[in-house]
């Protein structure tokens, strides 16, 4: 290859020629065609689409591409980012031209997507062939090797044999053996054409021929949308709907490869660029496949799954709060400087917040104007073996109501999140002697109230005529509530009474912030727990004191947060800025905590609370029949599949609780304690064998072994155990790998400090291995959550169940061993996978839509478990890296 060095090649090639742009265009066209064919394969854009519909699709693509390219180009022009690579620019321009051109063609003509793809392939073939020939004729300056190589030759031999086979079969049929001549001739011909000429011809001409042939076949509708091939030897057949996208995707792939080689001037750089594009398109294939499957299921199940979904606007707003907080946090995170995609990232960072803000604004208008938002549609139910369409709607009602459960859960989540972000203000600010004595009183007060609760529970509300509950208890509740409100007002009072600038005053009051927020929360929690015990709910003399107190305390804390946020704006000192930021978070923590207490109060007392027209109710602000209702047999409405959702969630929780500790424990023993030898090798083989055991075998084991030992009935517990056994090997394998990956240096360092092995494992090895362990858990849970076969055998799956298992309330304490019993765990349960299987595969009652809806919900449940797992993993990774 010494001739490669004979050229006087510039080290840097600046600017690009029209040849370069043409080939870049071919690459871009390949990418567009590839993405489109994948979407056509799952029928998101059917092949028969033509005219304005097709135009709209390409227009969407064009708008998306021009948005991305335009934004980046604008940022590049403004020198915010620097995109100087001619190849990136060329492909970006090519994407614009390709999508724009296809949009125009689709609007102006009446060709279908299939035909259009055919013409695209022909165009690609011409560009690539032309590029190869111009290179061979030295019209353009390239550095090809002597041959495209044996690998490419072999690949084209296979491709040629396939095309030749199809051709032979079509021309003379498969009846006589003579058709074999075609694949041999075409295969060998293509291989020779690839290997013998110089690389620039060898890697373009065969591609041009293959892609051109495919293009002609598709464009002339020799294989059209309605085409079908049913070989006699096969049961099934091939339709145009499958073959055309496959042809087009394949053509797009190899023409992208060839165009990339042309663009980089063949030789080693050409092979590099070609391989790079192929790998990228593969990754694109993965993403598109995943997204299409999810979309496919969701689009089919969405209507049935969301029928009758009704919620109050206030509930939605409350649910939006954590999302808004997350989006704010995301928008505030710093963008790395100097990265080429900085601007894009800035915009993507702000986008979620803007979108959520807009949604919140729309919902707020519902609250203000009193006009509900409704989206009406039809769904089908099965009645007397007839599919009957019904009308339904998704509604946002303008009721200013929120459920206590939602309020308590959301506020608690916010409280935890805020509390974690708040550092420590222990030694900041001026000391207030009187506050110090109050600080010492708080634990005493809380302990006293706890003692009173215990007392009332033990000896009853009126022991020996003393009105412990009604008078003393009520008095203490009232006093405690007042004290809590007083404490919560301390921060603001502190700021109001000290001297100096607002920032100084707020900073000086820092001890009052901690005392007010935490003391207030503690005292009010005690009062809240005491109130139901005293038997005086909801109120004292008609006033729901605890609820009103919580509301006032919330306002006080919110005010404190507002004051410190304002004070923060007025300071220029870095340290003070940080401290005031912490005080703001602390104030918000208090507000969230008091709101959570309000929700808990309504839950505990069981009576709603209304102030200024806004209500906290015990139930009924969110109605979602598919998820929140059991099946209603013989009803006008079919109800939902809540028992199946509950069953699946319990199955996953039970299997995880069973398998994860066992798996991690075994992994720790095998990696840290056991001598590596025959025993560990046997365990390893057994684990791997267990992991590859078919799931139905697990089911049989459960049915024949576990069930007879658990009372003889198919049960939820049996399902949990069987799924746990399936999860165990994966947890064991991944935990072992990640524990092995923890560097020995950590163990040495710990041992050299005199720390015992078990302590070392607990505090160094396991934390470092945690992200890997959790990854294993996520994968395993993804597998078992959708597992069907063993559940059919052991769960006693009730189809269209009318009652969900109630595991938590099923626990009962008994006076003799085993002391705890739970008949719910030993009862049969429904589960989502078996529900889907029964409705779709076995064709038991329920419309097909119901099956799809169940599948969509199953998918969502699995994805939710994934999300939880990934959040946990991210958390541990961040903790490990102090991000």
């Amino acid at each position: 290859m010494s001739e490669a060095y004979a050229h006087d090649t510039a080290l840097v090639t600046e600017g690009s020629t029209s040849y370069d742009r043409l080939v870049d265009g071919a690459i871009a066209l390949s990418i567009v065609a590839f993405a489109t064919t994948l979407l056509a394969l799952v029928e998101l854009v059917p092949l028969g689409t033509a005219g304005a519909t097709l135009g709209n699709y390409f227009l969407t693509l064009f708008v998306a591409v021009s948005g991305g390219v335009g934004l980046t180009a604008g940022a590049s022009w403004a020198n915010v980012v620097s995109v100087t690579s001619q190849r990136v620019r060329g492909v970006a321009g090519g994407l614009l031209v390709a999508t724009g051109g296809l949009t125009a063609v689709a609007y102006l003509t009446t060709v279908t997507l299939a035909t259009l793809l055919g013409f695209v392939l022909i165009g690609q073939a011409l560009i690539i062939g032309g590029a190869g020939i111009s290179s061979r004729l030295d019209i353009i300056d390239t550095e090809p090797d002597a041959s495209a190589g044996l690998l490419a030759g072999g690949a084209f031999a296979v491709i040629g044999a396939a095309i030749g086979g199809a051709l032979g079969g079509t021309v003379i049929g498969f009846d006589s053996i003579a058709w074999l001549v075609f694949p041999i001739v075409v295969g060998v011909g293509l291989a020779v054409l690839t290997i013998v000429p110089r690389e620039d011809l060898g890697s373009t001409i065969p591609v041009g021929l293959v892609v051109g042939t495919l293009g002609v076949v598709v464009a002339t509708a020799a294989i059209g949308v309605g085409w079908q091939w049913n070989p006699e030897t096969l049961d099934g057949g091939f339709t145009g709907g499958v073959v055309i996208p496959l042809f087009a995707a394949f053509g797009a792939l190899i023409s992208a490869w060839a165009a990339a080689k042309c663009r980089a001037g063949f030789g080693a750089p050409g092979r590099e660029y070609g391989a790079f594009l192929i790998i990228n398109l593969n990754a694109l294939l993965m993403v598109v496949t995943m997204v299409s499957i999810v979309l496919f299921v969701l689009t089919r199940g969405a209507t049935y799954a969301t029928r009758g979904l009704t919620t109050s606007a206030l509930t939605l707003l409350v649910l939006l709060v954590p999302l808004l907080a997350l989006a704010t946090e995301f928008a505030r995170s710093r963008v790395g400087g100097g990265e080429w995609n900085r601007t894009v990232r800035l915009v993507t960072q702000i986008a979620p917040l803007a979108t959520l803000g807009a949604v919140a604004a729309v919902i707020t208008t519902v609250l203000i104007t009193g006009n509900p938002i409704e989206y009406g549609f039809n769904y089908q139910i099965l009645q007397n073996r007839n599919l009957i369409p019904r009308e339904t709607a998704i509604t946002i009602t303008p009721n200013p109501e929120v459920g206590a459960v939602i309020l308590a859960v959301v506020a608690s989540v916010m409280w935890i999140a805020l509390f974690r972000n708040y550092g420590s203000l222990r030694n900041v600010g001026a000391a207030f002697p009187r506050a110090e004595s109050v600080r010492q009183l708080v634990p005493v007060a809380v302990a006293g109230m706890a003692a009173l609760i215990g007392g009332v529970l033990l000896v009853g509300p009126t022991p020996a005529g003393v009105p412990l509950g009604s008078v003393v208890g009520v008095g203490v509740v009232a006093a405690g509530t007042l004290a809590a409100v007083g404490l919560a007002a301390l921060p603001v009072a502190g700021v109001a009474t000290t001297n100096g600038s607002i920032a100084d005053r707020t900073q000086a009051s820092a001890p009052l912030f901690t005392l007010g927020v935490f003391g207030g929360l503690a005292v009010l929690t005690a009062a809240l727990l005491l109130q139901p015990v005293t038997g005086h709910t909801p109120g004292i003399a008609g006033v729901d004191l605890v609820a009103v107190g919580a509301l006032f305390a919330t306002l006080a804390c919110g005010l404190a947060a507002g004051v410190s946020a304002y004070a923060r704006r007025t300071t220029t000192e870095t340290l003070q800025d940080r401290l005031l930021g912490e005080e703001t978070i602390l104030g918000l923590t208090g507000a969230a905590g008091f709101i959570a207490l309000l929700g808990l109060h309504v839950l505990a007392t069981g009576s709603g609370f209304t102030v200024l027209g806004v209500s906290v109710t015990t139930e009924g602000t969110l109605s979602w029949p598919m998820i929140l209702q059991p099946y209603i047999p013989l009803g006008a409405e079919p109800g939902g599949i809540m028992p199946a959702v509950v069953g699946t969630v319990w199955l996953v929780i039970g299997a995880t609780l069973f398998a994860v500790p066992l798996g991690i424990g075994a992994a720790v023993f095998l990696t840290e304690y056991a001598e590596q030898g025959r025993f560990t090798a046997v365990v390893e083989i057994a684990t791997n064998a267990l992991w590859s055991t078919p799931s139905i075998v697990f089911g049989l084991f459960g049915a024949a072994f576990i069930i007879p030992r658990l009372g003889g009935n198919e049960s939820l517990l049996a399902g949990m155990l069987v799924l746990g056994f399936m999860l165990l090997p994966l947890v064991l394998i991944t935990s072992r790998e990640s524990i092995k990956a923890v560097p020995d240096e950590y163990r040495d360092a710990s041992a050299a400090l005199g720390v015992s092995q078990w302590e070392t494992i607990k505090s160094v090895v396991l934390p470092a291995a945690m992200p890997g362990v959790i990854t294993g858990g996520i994968l395993g849970i993804g597998r078992i959550a959708g597992e069907t076969a063993p559940l059919i055998l052991v769960l006693g799956s009730t189809l269209n169940a009318t009652e969900s298992v109630n595991v938590l309330q099923g626990f009962q304490f008994v006076a003799e061993p085993p002391f705890i019993i739970n008949d719910q765990l030993l009862a049969a349960s429904a589960s989502l996978p078996t529900q889907v299987w029964a409705v779709i595969a076995a064709g038991v009652s329920g419309s097909p839509q119901m099956g799809w809806a169940s599948a969509a919900i199953l998918l969502s449940v699995v994805l939710t478990f994934y999300a939880i797992g990934i959040t946990a993993r991210t958390y541990f990774r961040r903790k490990l890296n102090y991000e």
Binding site: P743, D748, A749, A752, L753, G754, V755, S756, Y882
Partner: protein, 300 residues
Amino acid sequence: MSETDITPDTGSTATTTTAGESDEQARDAWTEYRAAGETKLSVEDINVWYGDDHALKDVSMDIPEESVTALIGPSGCGKSTFLRCLNRMNDRIKAARVEGSVEVGGTEIYHPDANLVELRKRIGMVFQSPNPFPKSIRENISYGPRKHGEIEKGLLARLFGRDDTEAEAELVERALKQAALWDEVNDRLDDNALGLSGGQQQRLCIARCLAVDPDVILMDEPASALDPIATSKIEDLVEELAKEYTVVIVTHNMQQAARISDQTAVFLTGGELIEYDDTEKIFENPESQRVEDYITGKFG
């Protein structure tokens, strides 16, 4: 050659001249201690096998208190193996077999009932490549004391009325100051220790070792993975530490040994201790021809 029982020769120190004042002081101190016969570590006829490989042969030496003892020699000569015998880290290697006797302050550490936890608390170790835990700087320092129950903090400790947050802060400050790292990290004690530079990480490891309050510090080529500036900081630190601790340091850098150590042991191929004497004596007038060849660069 009979090198089974080599003890430093007291006579040679008086005749040598030293470069720096601190060196002179250290030298005086060393002479004093040796005169008083205060031996910290006494090793007798130690042999180590890795499987069938006889890695250390009949080594005996006495290491005096509050001084720096350097172990030098070519790669594979057994100096690290010897060091790891002193706190029984060789126990962690399954194939290793150790025979012989090591006494610390008169107590045999290879006694079957020896308390390994206590032993390793008394004899700390710093490794060749910096190995801080993936924890914060503060947690790295307080790791040892916390695991030994000397520092209790957190929710449970507070419930039982004990919160050593203040004690921890003092401990962290003391250890970091001793390791000459305090000024560089005092404003980011809660940052990840892995975010420090290599030299800082190694000083953090020294501070972590000091936090459990050892008597002896073993260092296995502590500066070999560091740049010259970080190396010189570690060297200064070692000299400073020798005022309070007994330091045994393995190094392949002869200049380093000459600069910082009070006495030097030379191991040559095959796991034999060839010569052990006062550092100046070894570098200026070694008894053995092989040692002289090694030091002048003719061999090794």
